[in-house]
Symmetry: C2
Subunit: 306 residues, 2 copies
Amino acid sequence: MDIRVVFLGTSGSVPTLKRSLPSVVVKCQSNQYMFDCGENTQHQMMKAKVSFHNKMKIFITHLHGDHVLGLPGLLQTMALMDRKEPIQIYGPKGLSKFLLCTKKALNFGLTYQVEINEVLSDGIVYDEEEYQVVATPSNHAVKSYAFAFIEKPRPGKFYPDKAMALGIPVGNLWSKLQRGEEISTPDGKTVKPSDVMGKLRAGRKIVYTGDTKPFDSFAEFAKDADIIIHDCTFDNSLIEKANIDGHSTPCQAAEQAKAANAKQLVISHISARYSDATLLLEEAKKVFPNSILAEDFMEIKLPLIK
Amino acid sequence: MDIRVVFLGTSGSVPTLKRSLPSVVVKCQSNQYMFDCGENTQHQMMKAKVSFHNKMKIFITHLHGDHVLGLPGLLQTMALMDRKEPIQIYGPKGLSKFLLCTKKALNFGLTYQVEINEVLSDGIVYDEEEYQVVATPSNHAVKSYAFAFIEKPRPGKFYPDKAMALGIPVGNLWSKLQRGEEISTPDGKTVKPSDVMGKLRAGRKIVYTGDTKPFDSFAEFAKDADIIIHDCTFDNSLIEKANIDGHSTPCQAAEQAKAANAKQLVISHISARYSDATLLLEEAKKVFPNSILAEDFMEIKLPLIK
């Protein structure tokens, strides 16, 4: 199945007429994984037809208003829409306090369970059968994380001809091999999955940096990513400002993508000063040609790796 | 000068593709008076070209998310735009706590002063030379206020012919009369302002109910208003639901406008269930013909009363 990456908001700290505040959703069939939730995300979800009822996890990179102020309203709207499915939210220490004080001050009830998980160190923050989300501390003005959404490697291709040739009857033994188990054939031979199957097939990988300056461990963290969605707040000439504010320039974002051997770079978190951000894209492309500029409602489709 | 009423958000509790969450701005030259500040108000301000730097007071009817969740982001954006002008915010008890806990959790600094005034009883909450804002408790699920924006009566028209006929020389004595002071003419006669001026000229009055069921004292509070912007969440057939949730139907809003002898009724806070809200308008017009339906970015001009 395709994985779809939907850009709901691509602005820097201040929204513009064209760009809403940061939020990206990774859609895997009916599962939704949201990264950041700036103000107005609920409205962007409506426009982009992202469901309010599906299974959903939300990952917050850091506790700056532009990345998290859409969360209370989204949770409230979901309740008003009578959502029943629980929701899981992951983010830095302090997220729980923010949500609880808001909920208390505004006196809103929920129709579903909200599980808040504060991320206290790097590593796997979310894990399920097919996918996991891994966090690493990034380099911003406050405690901040970058996230990698990783599809686990899938078993290699199964070759029925090889199984037949080894005298394995169609049925239960085939399933066992496909699940990665060793079996014994009716005539007593031991067969390993690798005897009848191809190599493990790599999963897809999407990295979302949130706000950050470049940092050393990024290349390893984002290694071989299909897509890196990277902070690119200011153009190359404003590198000093970027450094002071904890942001990146196109050149820096592109160097990070190159070092990580990424397939594609998407520059985002575009400062409101660029009514036309072509300059940023041109600067990024000089270093990393497969760069694109994020736009609100842009959608990237990642097909299954065969 | 004209007073302009700009509708930034006209939805009920949940935004729709056409309607953002509640907010209305009354513009008097470069002064702005905002009523409610739902999520996404800052973006709507950009679209409607409402300034982020002008003198501004914000009045919050009640502490439900859909009426107040745009405030933290708006304040933060104003700081990022380097606003210098102080801002005054008025709203129910708890507003201060909400803003402080949000500001603390999200660690944002401000470049200007924010004065929070909790409204603890009815009466005048804001008073200046030309205008005042008066609050009255409304009838919703939580502590809630309706606000009246009132232009103070202006002195009547000055008739130079009358002043000349009474032998008053052009100059200081004319100014005194225009300011409402009694004077003595050079030949010793006493002249009152009413001898040379017309009657006081009524000011303009705009009433904003916020969320409310009808309440008895409203007619007096909103008496002779030029515009009443009234909660009209549900159509007439849902009167029971409106009653339980603390909202009004078109018929109720129209009855309130009629009882108050208002010039115009604007029905707003339209539930997301009405993709076309013509029904609500038709129901209101049956009772109060000069009713209109609020739409995002609608602007009503109130010329100076001559």
